[in-house]
């Protein structure tokens, strides 16, 4: 009797609160579920047993603070990078991208640090470019490039349509792996691989115009004139030649008339000149070649 007066009321209130909230949750399902689906689809499914994926998922709890935490870790990695502390830098980059894989910048810059800067550090640590045998230097370059490429491969899971990732991969193949190849055939293979990656980049939404130009010039360098020619001929009609060019249909997402900057970046005239050059090299008679 003594107890019965207070306990039931708070108990009743608690029950009502929980019941109403549960009912609200059910009632709001048509509103909430699509939102949840939309947010979930933006993230790749975590791989089973992957520590970094689990970490990234766990960091969801932080909400908007997650990006800031990742920024902190990345800044720390940058400080380690300035001090050329190799292991710490790599660990920091891995952690930062695990906490917040959505930042493309972390992946791209991290890959550059791994593939380009760190091989120099290692050579320096072993006595410098004059002392360390060339073969050893090439081996270090290949090891570091592989590290950077693997890092970018990981990035592709989160940003499958980012042209910059393919560009960075192409760049590593071109700048690092080609000189580090053991023989002429290997070097050529790296060139072709880089050209292929630039082509991949050029097919992604929002890709810059220069991807195809780079692809063509690498193909040309490797002696594949015909492919270079085909690539340029294929791209030329889609390039904006003047502001308000109606035929321009390059960027699938926002499709405003081309701006002055874009016209400049497209360099349609330059592409046309290259086409003509390649025609000469391919022995195509004037007048028989490409007609815009």
């Amino acid at each position: 009797m003594k107890f019965s007066l207070t306990l039931p009321r708070s108990f009743r209130t608690g029950t009502v609160v929980v019941a109403v909230l549960a009912a609200t949750g059910w009632a709001l399902r048509p509103l909430a579920e699509p939102i949840r689906e939309e947010l979930r689809s933006a993230e790749p499914a975590p791989r089973l047993g992957s520590l970094s994926d689990a970490l990234g998922q766990g960091m969801n709890v932080l909400g908007g603070l997650r990006a800031m935490l990742a920024d902190f870790i990345y800044l720390k990695a940058c400080l380690d990078w300035e001090d050329t502390r190799l292991d710490q830098t790599i660990a920091g980059l891995r952690l930062a991208t695990a906490v917040d894989p959505s930042s493309l910048y972390f992946w791209l810059n991290g890959a550059s640090m791994m593939a380009l800067d760190m091989s120099n550090w290692r050579v320096d640590a072993e006595g410098g470019a004059y002392k360390v045998p060339k073969a050893r230097q090439r081996q270090i370059d290949r090891e570091q490039a592989a590290l950077g490429l693997a890092f970018l491969e990981e990035a592709r899971r989160f940003h499958p349509r980012a042209p910059t990732i393919y560009e960075k991969m192409a760049f590593i193949h071109h700048i690092r792996l080609r000189p580090a190849a053991e023989d002429e055939a290997g070097a050529n293979a790296e060139l072709l691989r880089a050209a292929e990656l630039y082509h991949l980049a050029s097919t992604q939404p929002g890709a810059p115009f220069y991807d195809v130009r780079l692809q063509a010039s690498l193909l040309k360098e490797a002696g594949h004139f015909r492919e270079a020619y085909d690539a340029l001929v294929k791209i030329y009609p889609t390039l904006p030649k003047a502001p308000d060019d109606p035929g321009y249909a390059r960027r699938p997402i926002k499709n405003p008339p081309p701006s002055e900057n874009e016209v400049m970046a497209a360099q349609a005239g330059d592409v046309f000149g290259r086409i003509r050059d390649l025609e000469k090299q391919l022995g195509i008679a004037p007048g028989q070649g490409f007609q815009p």
Partner: protein, 286 residues
């Protein structure tokens, strides 16, 4: 007795809200905003000086935005919970609620007045911080573009509208959080208990995504258990919804329709928690 009827009055509610807001202002609650602003400007300066490499403009803006938003979320959550609990309990502990509720004032007017006052405090905080962040970003964007007109060809430019949407959604989330804190306060005996519970609930709401994953797994093995976890998972709102910042600065940009639906979700929860807070407070002894 109809001529004597005292209907629920928005005027009284806003009076109570105004008084609550005034209390926060006169307690110099906003003074810490000055410190925060100084820190943000200093941060902007730091990111400007920091060497982000050849096309450093894009990451510079990203870092500035992340830190500004991080400060907003972190201090905003803290402010929401502590200020709401404090503004509520100052009335109870100083026994001013005694005088106020002895007037022809509905308990619902009191609860919603307290809510609106606290939410306005958080709103001013959010607006000032967002404004400062927007100005800093706008300023830096201009400088970066002047140095390199092509800096943002591949995205990375942070639109003022996006900032407003992201920060506005955070403010709505704080509204839900404030109302939840009020619900706890409506039966809690002390300020400290409300604050601790407020943070606890905040964490739970951020963990909702896990609960949802959990019940989809469990449902396969046991329907009853799955149903139970699902019910539990539905008791709290999911605060992950309010976090659309990932899309800012990308080519796709923010989805305004999605933001609108999240806003509707927040308002629905504010009303439901408000109703429950009134329900629980209605018979509290003052």
């Amino acid at each position: 007795m109809n001529s004597m009827a005292v209907p629920f009055s928005f005027a009284r509610t806003s009076l109570i809200a105004g008084n609550t807001f005034l209390e926060a202002v006169r307690q110099r609650l906003f003074l810490f905003l000055v410190l925060l602003a100084v820190a943000l400007v200093a941060g902007a300066r730091f990111f400007h000086e920091f060497d982000f490499g050849p096309d450093g403009g894009v990451p510079e803006l990203k870092f500035l935005f992340d830190f500004g938003l991080g400060a907003l979320i972190f201090f905003g959550s803290t402010l929401t919970i502590t200020a709401t609990a404090q503004l509520f309990f100052s009335e109870i502990e100083n026994r001013t609620a005694l005088t106020l509720l002895a007037k022809p004032v509905w308990r619902a007017e009191f609860v919603f007045g307290k809510f609106l006052g606290a939410w306005a405090v958080v709103g001013v905080f959010c607006a000032l911080l967002t404004g400062l962040l927007a100005v800093l970003l706008w300023f830096r964007t201009g400088a970066i573009l002047a140095a390199n007109p092509g800096a943002f060809l591949h995205g990375g430019r942070i639109g003022l509208g996006d900032i407003a949407i992201v920060c506005g959604l955070q403010w709505l989330k704080f509204g839900v959080l404030a109302m939840m804190t009020l619900l706890v306060s409506s039966f809690s005996g002390t300020n400290l208990f409300s604050v601790v519970m407020g943070f606890f609930v905040l964490v739970i709401c951020h963990l909702q995504a896990f609960a949802h994953q959990a019940y989809t797994r469990v449902e396969a093995s046991s329907v009853a258990l799955g149903l139970m976890i699902e019910t539990l998972a539905r008791v709290f709102p999911d605060f992950q919804f309010f976090n659309l910042a990932d899309k800012v600065g990308t080519e796709a940009g923010l989805d305004a329709g999605l933001a609108l639906r999240v806003a509707a979700y927040a308002l629905a929860y504010i009303l439901v928690f408000g109703f429950l807070a009134v329900f629980s407070f209605r018979r509290r002894e003052i």
